[in-house]
Structure formats: C-alpha cells, structure tokens
Amino acid sequence: MAAEGTGHHGPMEQFEIKKIIDLDLLGHDISFTNSSLMMVLAFAVIVGYMLFAMRGRALVPTRIQSTAEVVYEYIAGMVKENIGEEGMKFFPWVFTIFIFILVLNIFGLIPGNFAVTSHIIVTFALAAMVWLVATFVGFWKHGVSYLKLFAPSGVPLWLMPIIIPIELTSYLIRPISHSVRLFANIMAGHTMLEVFAGFAVLLPWWGKIAPTGFMVAFTGLELLVAFLQAFIFTVLTCIYLNDAVNMHH
C-alpha cells in the first residue's frame, strides 16, 4: 500500500501472497503466508481485546468494557431487528463474522500491511459459508416447503414460469454478489491509494502535495468503507438467515 520508493512497482503488487513458512500436506500447498499471518493477528487482537475489555465484568462498565458492549449491542440489535428473537441463536456466529471482517479491513489500511479481504477466495469462502448455513437452516426448519421461497405468494399463476427462474437465479448468485461486493470494494480502494502513492513518488516536490493530501483524505474514506462493508456483509447475512428462518416472501 505504501509507496515503495522506486516507483517500479505496479499498483497490484501489494496483493501478492508471500510464503512465510513452507508447509505441504499430502501434495496440497498449505504454506503459512502473509495472508494467514494477518488472519492469525486479527484473531489474536479480537480475542485479546474482548478478554481484556470484559475482564472486570462490572455492572457499571469501565470505559474499555463499554466499548466492547457497544459492539455487542450493535450486532445484537441488528440480529433482533432483522431475524427476530429466534435469530439470537445465530448471534455468536454473526458477531464473529462482523468483527473478523471489520478487523481485517482496518488492519489492511495500515500502510505496509496486507489486506486479506482484498482476495476473492477469502471473501468467497465466508460468503459460501453464509449461503450454505442459510440454505441448510431453511431446509432443516421448513423441509421441502422451503422451496416456496422461489414461488412468492400473490403472484398470478401465468407469471410463475418467469418468476421462479428469476428467484432461483437470484438465490444461487447470492454467494457471488455477497463476496464480490466486499472484495471489489477493498481491492479498488487499495489500488486507488497505490496509484496516488505512485504519483506522489514520481512527481517533483511541488507536485507531491496534491496526491499526498488526496491520499490522507482518501484513507479517511477507506476507513468508512472498511466499516461500511463489514456492516453490509453482516446485514446481508442477517437478511439471508431471515429468509431461511421466517420465510417472509
């Protein structure tokens, strides 16, 4: 993300995965990479922060405890609003998804760090997990009648041959749109920062001011995007789960 000094690096080079420890399992490459390192770091920061913030478990929270409680209540409110009381069964999972993506996004913004969520395979794995869980919950709760999701009530019968394929396609495309949204936002933002960092390196001193100022402003915007995308990913997770649990349609 930061300018590397020479200006010979392309803007896409920041997304390169580097192996740190070479590992091999039955012919599969399971090396510990910079991506894995960032994920482990994010995990350690989340667990460390939560344990540290909640160590007192005071009725009247200390300042750091109330920050942890704000995050908890925010996601709990989102789950209750979208799925209802029944959805609180899924709360630990939804909370984990939110805070994991949020911390990874913000980690990626620190200059020189690797942005894990800018790789589609990471976001696709998360989105595919959400989709599989939602589909499984739907069939487990409603049985075969979960298929009624694709035939909304109140639609005239002659429209059904058009509506059902559309609904089915939009359901099957969910993991793709869900993952591409997060991946493309983070990747586009980081590429943009890198391009402007390249301007700042190549131009003479009087030309460095504008791109540098833009980068500062844009990093602020990226911080907003980092939160917003984690939020949207979580809200859509709740909406998909709501379809599965309550079948509003």
């Binding site: 896409m12 989102m78 591409v180 493309a184 917003l228 939020f231 949207i232």
Partner: protein, 74 residues
C-alpha cells in the same frame, strides 16, 4: 488490431458499468435525503434500508469492474 490494445479497450468498456452504479447510488442517497428532510423523525429507522440499497446498487457496478480486472489479469 493488436490484441493487447483490444484487451485494454475492452477493459475500459467494461468500466461503463460504473455509470449505472453511480446513477443508482445517487438516486438512493438523494431520495433518502429528500425523504429525511420531509420527515426527519423517520429517517433513523430507514438508515439500514438505505445502506442495503446502496450495497445492492454498488454491487452491479462492481461486477463490471470485476470483468475489467478479469480481462486485464485473467
């Protein structure tokens, strides 16, 4: 035409998808703002819906960007 040049032109054309995303996002935020100014008390309750609409509109544009990236690097 040089295939490399055609590739770049194609990637540029794929970015036209962002026009639609721009119109969509502008529409959503503009309408939210005018609605919020008419009835500020209802604005907070619709903020989540605003962000969902924003995300859905943005995703369509990002699909175009994705095509451009696939053309360039795929």
């Amino acid at each position: 035409m040089d295939p490399q040049a055609a590739k770049f032109i194609g990637a540029g054309l794929a970015c036209f998808a962002l026009i639609g995303a721009g119109i969509g996002i502008g529409n959503i935020f503009g309408n939210y703002l005018s609605g919020a100014l008419r009835n500020p008390s209802a604005a907070a309750s619709q903020f989540t819906n605003l962000l969902i609409g924003f995300a859905l509109a943005e995703a369509t544009g990002l699909f175009g960007l994705l095509i451009a990236l696939i053309i360039l690097y795929g």
